[in-house]
Symmetry: C2
Subunit: 218 residues, 2 copies
DNA sequence: CGCAGGCATCAGGGTTTTCCTGATAGTTGT
DNA sequence: ACAACTATCAGGAAAACCCTGATGCCTGCG
C-alpha cells in the first residue's frame, strides 16, 4: 500500500459532472483532489502548478482537445500520469490517447468504483483500460501489424482538420473556401483527402466524427 | 420547510455521472434518491413503480428522447415534477421541455448547489430555470407572440423525424429511399421540409441537431 | 546536395445531387 | 364538408461533388 495520499487533478467541462466526480473521490481516504479545471487552458496551468499524481481528463473540452492537453503535459509534467475519462469509445480517439502517453482510459458508462480502481492502479505505475477500450487497442494493434496502409487510419494534417471543423459546423465548400481565403477546388481536394483518410464518405458521419473527436463541439 | 424528505429518481445514461449526482444529492439530508435509471424505458418503469416527488432527467438517453419520457410521464404520473438536466441549452429543446410540462431546466455547466436549489424549489411547487434557459424561454415566448408563423419552429412529423435520423446517421437520399422503400423524390421533399421547418440548411447542422435532440446518438 | 514524400494549392470536365415548383391522395379535426 | 397536414411523387434547372492530374513548397534523409 501507499503511505501518501494520491493527489488528483480533475478536468471536465461540466461543473456538475466535475463536482459529482469529486464527491465520489472524496469518499476514498487515500485520494485527494488538489484542483479542478473546466478547460484545457486551466488544466495545463493547474497541472504545472500543483503537479498531481493523477490527471483525470475528459476529452471534450471547450477550448483545446483533451488529446492535445495530454500530449503537452506528457512532456511538460512527465511525472503526472494521465487517466482519460470519456463518454465515447471512438477508435481513433483511443489510439490517439495511447499514442500521446495516457496511462488509462475509462468510459463514463462505467461504474464509479472502476474510476477509483483505475486511479489506484495507475498511481501504482501500471496502466488501466476499460474492457471495451482494451479491445479497441488490441484490434488496432493487430491491424497496424497486419494490414496494408491503405486501410489504416491516417492522421489529418492541420489544414485538413481545419476544413473538417468548418464542414462539421455546417459550412459548405464555397463558404469554407471564403473563410479560409482559398479556392473552392482546394477545399474539394481537402474534403476528398479527409474522406479517404478517415474512410468516411458522408457529411453526416464526418460531423459525428468531428464531434466525437473534439474537433468541434455540439 | 418540508417535513418529509424529497424523494428523487435520477435518470442519466452515464453511470459515472449518475453516481456522481447521487453522491452530491446524498449530502443533503432532506433529499433521498429512491431509484436511478440509465434509459428512457427503465426511467418510465421506475417512475411508475416508485412515484418520486422529483424526476431529475437527462435529455440524451440511449433509447428514447428525454422529451418523450417527460411527455409520457406527465400524463401517467402527473404528481411527479420533472427537472431537466441537460448538457445543452438548445432553443428547441428548451421550448419542447417547457411544452411537455417540465417544472425546471438546468445545465450541467451549472454548479451542483444549483441542482439542489432547483430540486427544493420545484418540490415546493414552483419552477426553476437556469438563467440562460430562462432567457431562451422569454425570447421564444416573445417571438411566438410577435412573429409570423414562418419563423416559428414547427414540429416534425413522424416520417420527417425518421428521414432526419437516417440522414444524420450518414445515409444519402438514395439510401434513405431504399431503406424506407419510397422514391428518392419523396425523400428530397421530406428533407426540404425538414430544413424549412428547422431553419437549418446543411447536413452537418442537421446532424448536430439530431444528436442534440436525441433523434440519433453519437 | 538532391530528391522522395507529404502538404497546400488549383483546374477541367463528367456525374450526381440538390433545389424549386407543382401535383395527388389519404387523414384528421371541427 | 372543408381546411390543414401528411405522405407520396416528378420535371428541369442549378449546384455540388468526384476523378484525374498538376504545381510549388518544405522537410527529412542518405
Amino acid at each position: 500500500m501507499r503511505l501518501m495520499p494520491i493527489r488528483i487533478l480533475v478536468v471536465d467541462d461540466h461543473q456538475m459532472v466535475r463536482e459529482g466526480l469529486i464527491s465520489l473521490l472524496a469518499k476514498e481516504h487515500d485520494l485527494i483532489v488538489v484542483a479542478e479545471a473546466e478547460s484545457g487552458e486551466s488544466a495545463m496551468r493547474l497541472c504545472r502548478e500543483t503537479v498531481p499524481d493523477i490527471l483525470v481528463l475528459d476529452l471534450t473540452l471547450p477550448d483545446i482537445s483533451g488529446i492535445e492537453v495530454a500530449r503537452t503535459l506528457r512532456s511538460d509534467c512527465p511525472s503526472v500520469r494521465i487517466l482519460i475519462l470519456s463518454m465515447h469509445s471512438d477508435r481513433r480517439f483511443v489510439t490517439e490517447a495511447v499514442t500521446v502517453g495516457a496511462s488509462g482510459y475509462i468510459l463514463k458508462d462505467a461504474a464509479s468504483n472502476e474510476l477509483i480502481r483505475a486511479i489506484r492502479t495507475i498511481a501504482s505505475g501500471e496502466t488501466f483500460f476499460s474492457p471495451t477500450v482494451a479491445g479497441i487497442i488490441v484490434t488496432s494493434y493487430i491491424e497496424s501489424r497486419q494490414q496494408s496502409q491503405s486501410a489504416t487510419l491516417q492522421p489529418l494534417s492541420p489544414r485538413e482538420t481545419e476544413v473538417l471543423r468548418l464542414l462539421a459546423q455546417g459550412q459548405n465548400t464555397k463558404e469554407i473556401a471564403h473563410t479560409l481565403s482559398i479556392s473552392s477546388k482546394t477545399v474539394e481536394t481537402f474534403r476528398a483527402n479527409i474522406m479517404r483518410k478517415l474512410n468516411i464518405f458522408s457529411v453526416a458521419e464526418l460531423t459525428r466524427y468531428a464531434i466525437r473527436t473534439g474537433i468541434t463541439s455540439l
